[in-house]
């Protein structure tokens, strides 16, 4: 997968940038899609958008779990601990828990319209907490992750332009893959709603 810059500690594991980082990019994209559909549901009261919203969240949670697991493996062999006390990690963990709570909240309602309305409102709340937790707070303090702790525009990345030629297509690819899985799940859910 192309040449990579030679870095101490990271060594060849710098190639994980092609796999671990796109998980979080794609997860954020899925959450934005979920938020968009939650807002559309609130504007229209059409349950079609609620279905879309919940399935995008499901795929986002899958990508988030994979992001956490891959990050733990990577951190274990470079930072020396599977879960170092890093603001970005803890922020991501809190964010994930909020979205688990979203699924539990959904399970606790019988009435469809009520469930859809409350979970859409909760979705907006969760998203607006999630973004500061993983994108803003780690930049205000200091993090082991590159590009955090201060202005990302002025920080040094381990990545070079040769790697970006693989990295950005990988990000787009994972976003499209996530969208595909989500649309498959939306179609399954629509079929099961129609068959009832």
């Amino acid at each position: 997968m192309g040449t990579v810059p030679r870095r101490a500690i990271l060594n060849e594991s710098i190639r994980n940038v092609y796999f671990h980082v796109p998980m979080w990019f794609a997860m954020s994209a899925m959450l934005i899609a979920s938020l968009y559909n939650a807002v559309r549901y609130l504007r229209s009261n059409n349950l079609k958008y609620d279905t879309k919203s919940v399935e995008f969240t499901n795929v986002a949670i899958l990508l988030g779990i994979l992001g956490c697991a891959t990050g733990s493996i990577w951190a274990n062999f470079t930072w020396g601990d599977p879960w170092p006390n890093d603001p970005k990690l803890n922020g991501a963990a809190i964010g994930m828990l909020m979205y688990f709570a979203y699924l539990i909240l959904r399970g606790s309602f019988e009435d469809e319209q009520r469930r859809a309305r409350i979970s859409a409102v909760y979705n907006i709340l969760a998203f607006s907490v999630f973004i500061p937790l993983i994108f803003i707070l780690p930049r205000l303090t200091d993090s082991l992750h590159p590009g955090n702790g201060g202005n990302p525009a002025f920080s040094n990345y381990d990545m070079d332009n040769q790697m970006r030629r693989v990295f950005y297509p990988a990000v787009i690819g994972w976003m499209l893959l996530g969208t595909w899985i989500a649309t498959l799940r939306i179609r399954i859910r629509n079929l099961s709603l129609n068959s009832d």
Binding site: E12, N16, M23, A69, T70, W74, F77, I181, S195
Partner: protein, 73 residues
């Protein structure tokens, strides 16, 4: 006498070997995953992603077959 001399000689040779071993061992633990420039960490990461997606697909497959049963009735 000869036997004892050989025993001592062998012991000394083995001491020498132990010394060489400790010199050649690095401080970082010799896990397999840290060998070869940590490329096996990348392999582990890719296999975790693969396993996760496969597990997700299996759960989706179950959903579809449940749906198929429902539609047949």
């Amino acid at each position: 006498m000869k036997k004892i001399f050989f025993l001592l000689l062998n012991l000394l040779i083995s001491v020498n070997l132990f010394a060489q071993q400790t010199v050649s061992q690095e401080v970082t633990m010799a896990d397999q995953l840290r060998a070869d420039g940590k490329i096996w960490v990348v392999v582990a990461v890719i296999s975790v992603i693969f396993a996760g997606i496969i597990a997700f697909l299996i759960s989706m497959d179950r959903k579809v077959s449940k749906l198929e049963k429902q539609l047949k009735k």
